[in-house]
Amino acid sequence: MEDRILTLVTFFPLIGAVLLLFVPKERDDSVKSIALIIAFITFLFSLMMYSMFDPVANGMQFEVNIPWISTFGISYHLGIDGISLLLIMLTTILSVIIMISSWNSIKTGVKGYFISMLMLETGMLGVFVSLDLFLFYVFWEAMLIPMYFIIGVWGGPRKIYAAIKFVLFTMFGSLLMLVALLYLMFMYHSFAGEYSFSILDLYKMPIPLGAQTYIFLAFALTFAIKVPIWPFHTWLPDAHVEAPTAGSVILAGVLLKMGTYGFVRICLPMFPEATLQFVPLISILALIGIIYGALVAMVQRDIKSLVAYSSVSHLGFVMLGMMALNVQGLEGSVLQMINHGISTGALFLIVGMLYERRHTRMIADFGGLAKSMPVFSTFFMIASLSSIGLPLTNGFVGEFLILLGVYKANPVYAIIGATGVILAACYMLWMLQRVIFGKITKPENEKLKDLDLREKIILIPLVILIFWIGIYPKPFLERIEPAVKNIVSIVNSSRTASEAGMSKGYKCVGDRCDTHTFTTGGK
């Protein structure tokens, strides 16, 4: 079981998608039910995986390593640590939720929609479980396709523009990543005498700083676009606004995390010296993102694009915390990935529910919803507060740890970053005020139905998570910690090494590195 659980979790949705192919397309309800059941079983599998996961163990767990394309040393290599574990859990939970949330909102092409969703789930899970860089790349790219369809087929009025923009932006970076990937492959070949795409193997390879810089840039650009780090973010508002609700949820909840996950899994430990070089740049971009995203979010007229820009701001926090390169910053950063998935996911779901009722998302079209839809407003409020980072909600723990870590690394960054906390309150509360408070000015808003049971079922798990992580984040943090410490120790050892004139723990003369003293194990 240990070695199959990851495969099971990752590919179960795909099996479901294949299964759905054989369901007659007229039978919408069976399609929906099967998709939901598949997603739910996947979730159960992931729970099983969660329970089997050893929180204190160091290194990868449930590793599988089967040769795939042996000519290039490519293998089917899966494995997870705490970071991936949580992201997988987030993915499976959100998948179940979006299946329910799409129940009524998708009216055309139901079958195709659910097949795409399930394929997307496999793609996302695959990214998180891959320990083979090639496999990672394959999942990374493959996941674009279903998302492209989800935006493009079931999206809003400018869906085509948004879908193409989404794919082109992402593709631009990932193609450069491909070049870097190839370069890395040959570099490893000349280092070890054989091909390997195993991330764990590549960790061990010394890379001269010059090459490291370029490869890092290629990878970082890819991930930066995905995150998105300012100024690569302009695809995000379009994609979010045009995507159907579930698409936005997945996009914000999981897809954006792939960029940050890529940084954590690949850029930091694989290119520690280059990372150290680029810490100021990325931190500053992240800071710009935090403030810029918040400011632009403030003046949005569409709730969805407001939430989208708020993602830019929040992901800025994630990047900022990561670049602190200490335990608190990184741990906060990873936790904030999860948090952002939960709270922004919830916000998108809420906006979607509103859209289903009124077919508009313009802030100006609302007002006074707290009167006509009190339960809805309560959920909206809770999600917003979590997004603001109110203590005892999940957002606080993440943001606090991030800023704490960043302060250690560079107080100025922390000070600037912390202003984001203020701005978050500004845009969120202003939006809340205009949407749910005030008098009902539009007659259409008077008779809006409050949330029904299905919608409550969608939101309640997220609200529980919001408070759970806010009040008792220990189970999450303790699982992240070994992985994070590992990465921090890699970066730190290279920091001390580079200060001592060595490269990644090696003594290098010219291009030749001969002593092999590097270990991946953390302290």
């Binding site: 302009t234 810029y292 949005q300 740890l401 912390a418 509360l429 005030g438 008098k439 220990k474």
Partner: protein
């Protein structure tokens, strides 16, 4: 011994959960029973703990109980844990006690409101957060309460969310508080990375070793914490939210925006006295800001017409006093004033609530008058509060305010100027409070006839809390009668283990040796302030009772000043013009110009360029064979040229 401190905040939490989860499904009686019962239980349990604490020797009066690890991350470990010591028990008693009374009062006040159960839900949540704030054993948990009360304040100010001004005010309160919290957070970072912990006990124990006295770090940390305090306690420059907060229901103003939440800043500074004692610069800043606020807010209160706004500015002003006390290292005096203030200010607000209740929502004093005969109980209790806040001897306010003034004068950190401004502010307080009383309760009723018929005394459920608070406003001061008047100042002694920790620092011992002034000086100052207060009461009587025309004339002759005061020095407008508009416009610029025009434009531009190249290339594809052959030949020629030039 197990004290089960967690029970104190647990009761209101349970009340909140019951009322909140079943909102709209329970009847009003049950809701009010749960809400009041929860707070009452807390109160009685904390009273019980108070006596338990008293039974301990003074140096053992610090009970710490840890529930569970909250955020563990590397060397960073924060617990959910509670600390009960003299300081926190006083705060707990005040909070639960006053809350309990106000809860009961609210049953009457909010009786007809459709959001009745929502109101009590919020109120319980508030009490819970406030208790977390005061009971926390570390800064981060304190911050949880700190933000929690901010949230409740936001919710309760905007309780009548359909009123735009109310939800505006709530938002403003939250955001301004957030600015303070920004400072608070940064302060925490400095403390953590310097000391390695956020637990009060550890921090205060290690701080003297980890920080240099008067050094940049400690000064920065304390200043940042103070920024948090200015936000929460409405000090310059972040006081703007408090007057607007009066949009909320009046009991809320009484509880949150007068008695409890706004004093959190004072509590926090008193709690951090060890740190503040190590940063003399910060102390000076605190004192000056406090005094400036006290004076400044007092002047604004002189000209306000809204009964609650007068009280609000008076709150700001009184909070300024408390900060002055903290700033001159007289933390005990600050807490003392905090306590008495919470009694009489709660009383005043509830009284004004009773008035508003009677006036069917009218808050403008220009349309009141002569209410004394209609609302006798309200009048008398209100009068007690007014006398207490004015600092008339034998009322609680006298003792606490006088102690602050004396410390402002006598402390090593004090100065004569602080005293002068303090007394001036006290005189103003007396003036505007009596102006308020005269305009409201005396003279002819200026309300319309319909409203006149409506006038009635509030129900018992409202007047009894008033009376209880009136009693407290009188006797509350007697726990801290100063030595000079023959008292033994129980209060200071009780707090000593907590507050003098900082003063026992080797670096700060000189602070205590401030007794170089004779008791005569102290009495003289006391007398002069009392006389000034009395004089200003007489002035108020003259202007608003005796010769009402004169006040009108005065208003017209100094219309510039009056407008300035009535317009609250136009600080809101200033902030709007200098901060808010530029930010909004800047954001629009970022969105429309940078995002859409520049970044997207750049990318779209790239696409257009590629498209243009494509279109350009396509013109070559003429469909004519000759063109094709020509280009073919050209290709051959060029490539041959390459070979030749190789």
């Amino acid at each position: 011994m197990e004290y089960s401190l967690y029970l104190i905040p647990l009761f209101p939490l349970v009340g909140f959960l019951i009322n909140g989860l079943f909102i709209g499904k329970l009847n009003k009686k049950f809701v009010s029973f749960i809400a009041c019962g929860a707070v009452g239980l807390s109160f009685f349990y904390s009273a019980h703990l108070f006596f338990e604490l008293l039974s301990l020797p003074a140096e053992a009066r610090a009970i710490e109980e840890i529930l569970f690890v909250w955020i563990p991350s590397g060397q960073f470990n924060v617990n959910i844990g509670f600390l009960l010591d003299p300081l926190s028990i006083i705060m707990v008693m005040v909070v639960t006690g006053v809350s309990f009374l106000i809860h009961i009062y609210s049953i009457g006040y909010m009786h007809d409101d459709p959001g009745f159960s929502r109101y009590f839900t919020y109120l319980n949540l508030f009490v819970f957060s406030m208790l977390i704030l005061v009971l926390a054993n570390n800064y981060l948990l304190m911050f949880v309460g700190w933000e929690g009360v901010g949230l409740c304040s936001y919710l309760l100010i905007g309780f009548w969310f359909e009123k735009k001004s109310a939800s505006d005010a709530g938002k403003k309160a939250f955001i301004v508080n957030r600015i303070g919290d920004f400072g608070f957070l940064l302060g925490l970072f400095i403390i953590f990375w310097q000391v390695g912990s956020l637990d009060f006990a550890t921090v205060f124990e290690k701080a003297p070793a980890m920080f240099a006295v008067g050094g940049t770090l400690i000064t920065a940390a304390t200043l940042l914490l103070f920024l948090g305090a200015t936000g929460k306690s409405a000090q310059i420059p972040l006081f703007v939210w408090l007057p607007d907060a009066m949009e909320g229901p009046t009991p809320v103003s009484a509880l949150i925006h007068a008695a409890t939440m706004v004093t959190a800043g004072v509590y926090m500074i008193a709690r951090s006295n060890v740190l503040y004692m190590m940063a003399p610069t910060t102390l000076a800043v605190v004192a000056i800001v406090g005094m400036a606020t006290a004076f400044f807010a007092g002047t604004i209160a002189l000209a306000q017409n809204d009964i609650k706004r007068v009280l609000a500015y008076s709150t700001v002003s009184q909070l300024g006093y408390m900060f002055v006390a903290c700033g001159v290292a007289a933390f005990g005096a600050g807490i003392f004033h905090l306590m008495t203030h919470s009694f009489f200010k709660a009383l005043l607000f509830l009284g004004s609530g009773s008035v508003i209740h009677a006036m069917a929502g009218q808050q403008d004093m220009r349309y009141m008058g002569g209410l004394k005969k209609h609302l006798p109980a309200t009048y008398w209790t209100f009068m007690v509060g007014t006398l207490a806040i004015a600092g008339i001897p034998l009322f609680s306010g006298f003792f606490s305010k006088d102690e602050i003034l004396w410390k402002a004068f006598s402390s090593q950190y004090g100065s004569t100027w602080l005293w002068v401004f303090g007394v001036a502010a006290a005189a103003m307080t007396a003036f505007y409070m009596f102006r308020l009383v005269y305009l409201t309760f005396y003279g002819e009723g200026r309300m319309d006839s319909h409203a006149k018929e409506h006038l009635h005394e509030s129900p018992k459920v409202m007047t009894i809390p008033l009376m209880l608070l009136a009693v407290l406003s009188i006797v509350g001061g007697y726990v801290g009668i100063p030595h000079v008047l023959g008292g033994i100042n129980y209060f200071e002694n009780f707090l000593e283990p907590v507050l003098h920790a900082g003063q026992n620092l080797p670096v700060a011992t000189h602070v205590l040796t401030s007794g170089s002034y004779s008791t005569g000086t102290e009495l003289l100052l006391m007398a002069s302030s009392v006389i000034l207060v009395l004089l200003s009461i007489i002035l108020a009587w003259y202007l608003y009772r005796k010769n009402t025309d004169l006040s009108g004339k005065l208003r017209t002759s100094m219309s510039g000043l009056h407008k300035l005061l009535l317009g609250k020095y136009f600080v809101d407008e200033l902030y709007g013009a200098v901060i808010i508009r530029p930010i909004v416009n800047g954001s629009l610029f970022l969105w429309k110009i940078v995002d859409v025009f520049l970044i997207d434009g750049l990318i779209n531009g790239l696409a257009v360029v590629i498209g243009d190249i494509s279109t350009g290339l396509r013109t070559v594809q003429t469909g004519r064979l000759r063109t094709y052959a020509t280009i073919f030949l050209a290709g051959v020629v060029v490539l041959l040229l390459f070979v030749l030039l190789r």
